[in-house]
């Protein structure tokens, strides 16, 4: 279908973004390809170093999965901010990534963790890093004939790992003005061995800051080191202004929320003995 109709066809997953956009006549796809009943796109498989999730797996299923939560806790932490119960009951993991809203939570989690996305067309499959997948606001590197098939979420093996997700929105469940996610691993002495964090809603795509995060490794993650990392990350953002928030306010939120997410992640990792 996609190969035949190209851009005039759209895949319909949970429909929690595409259908509202159609209702407002922002998009008018001539063809809709409903993938909701394709069982092969719905699964959660835990492997040694990753969780593989089928693209059409509903957000509520991921939210409730305890084994998955113990391996990739950032997913449930992010989902707590995604819409409402009614939308999570229909919305899918892959749909949210393919929609690529720059302020959405799951794309940010994918960037921070360095998720890998498997895209399939009738010609075969290819795998893209999250960083290569997100191309701009509501734009991805997926070709018109490709369907997102599954997502590999890295699971960190370190025992003392902590993660956190936080955001500010006008009302809980609304689009984030700014969102922040972090994941940290500590050694037995409480020294950081690995760090990842990122910000959403402050650019064309969700941003991860691997270089700034790398400098946290080796530190004790005191509030000052975290504050410096958060400031540096906020400076690197290019937020836009709109009715709800100026770019200055968004950049301020970026610094505050990045710091908050990093501190929460650190405290959770410290709590693991």
């Amino acid at each position: 279908m996609l190969a035949t109709h190209g851009d005039s066809a759209k895949l319909l997953a949970g429909g929690q973004s595409l259908v509202p956009m159609m209702a407002m006549r922002l998009v008018r796809p001539a063809w809709l390809v409903d993938i909701n009943e394709i069982a092969a796109l719905k699964f959660v498989k835990l492997e040694n170093d990753a969780a593989r999730i089928g693209a059409c797996t509903r957000q509520c299923v991921v939210d409730r999965d305890e084994a998955l939560y113990s391996r990739v806790p950032l997913l449930r932490q992010a989902l707590a901010w995604v819409g409402h119960i009614q939308t999570r009951n229909r919305g899918t993991v892959g749909g949210s990534l393919a929609h690529a809203d720059p302020s959405a939570e799951l794309p940010l989690a994918a960037q921070v963790l360095g998720a890998k996305l498997v895209l399939r067309s009738s010609k075969g499959a290819r795998t893209l890093e999250a960083e290569k997948f997100f191309a701009g606001p509501m734009a991805t590197a997926a070709r018109p004939d490709e369907c997102l098939e599954e997502i590999h979420w890295p699971a960190w093996g370190e025992k003392r790992t902590g993660s956190a997700f936080t955001e500010i929105a006008i009302r809980h469940g609304d689009f984030a003005m700014v969102a922040a996610a972090a994941q940290l691993a500590l050694d037995a002495d409480g020294r950081c061995t690995r760090a990842a964090f990122g910000l959403g809603g402050v650019g064309a795509v969700p941003l991860a800051f691997p270089k700034i995060a790398a400098r946290l490794a080796g530190t004790k993650l005191d509030d000052e080191a975290i504050g410096d990392a958060a400031s540096e990350a906020a400076k690197a953002t290019e937020p836009g202004s709109d009715l709800h928030a100026t770019k200055e306010y968004r950049r301020h939120l970026a610094r505050v929320l990045a710091g908050r997410a990093l501190r929460e992640a650190r405290d959770r990792a410290l709590a693991v003995r």
Binding site: G15, Q16, V19, P20, A23, M24, A30, L32, D34, N36, C60, G83, H84, I85, Q86, T87, N89, R90, H172, G173
Partner: protein, 161 residues
Amino acid sequence: MSDTLHAVAIEVNGKRREARVPARLSLVDWLREELRLTGTHVGCEHGICGACSVLLDGDPVRSCLMYTVQAHGHRVTTVEGLARPDGSMSALQDSFCETHALQCGYCTPGMLIAAQALLDSNPDPTEAQIREAIGGNLCRCTGYQQIVEAVQLAAERTKAK
């Protein structure tokens, strides 16, 4: 867009309903216009207000964001399906009346569906859990406090039984 009609079989409030529908007929329009189940309300029609909430296989969803064909083979419960078989109000519906949990009534069917789904999975919810459960439903009369009280009352009564 095509005029082709698609055959569907959907269980609505315990009854199997068959129909032939256009591919892009929303579930809420089918429920209201074809089945005349007008208890489910149409509010914003883009998934914000929650007035159109129905249970799909027991889970609350927005029926304005689903096409009727997508409900084929599934089970739908509307607000009409919450009442007891003899037509009298459910414990939750009675509680809404008693605590004055509605004024204009526009959000009420969606609130009832969201609250019933909560009580089905969690018979003894905390206030925070109730607020989370109805977080996707807007009330323009700002009656949230009484709605929370209604759900608490229904939970207490169901427990006492």
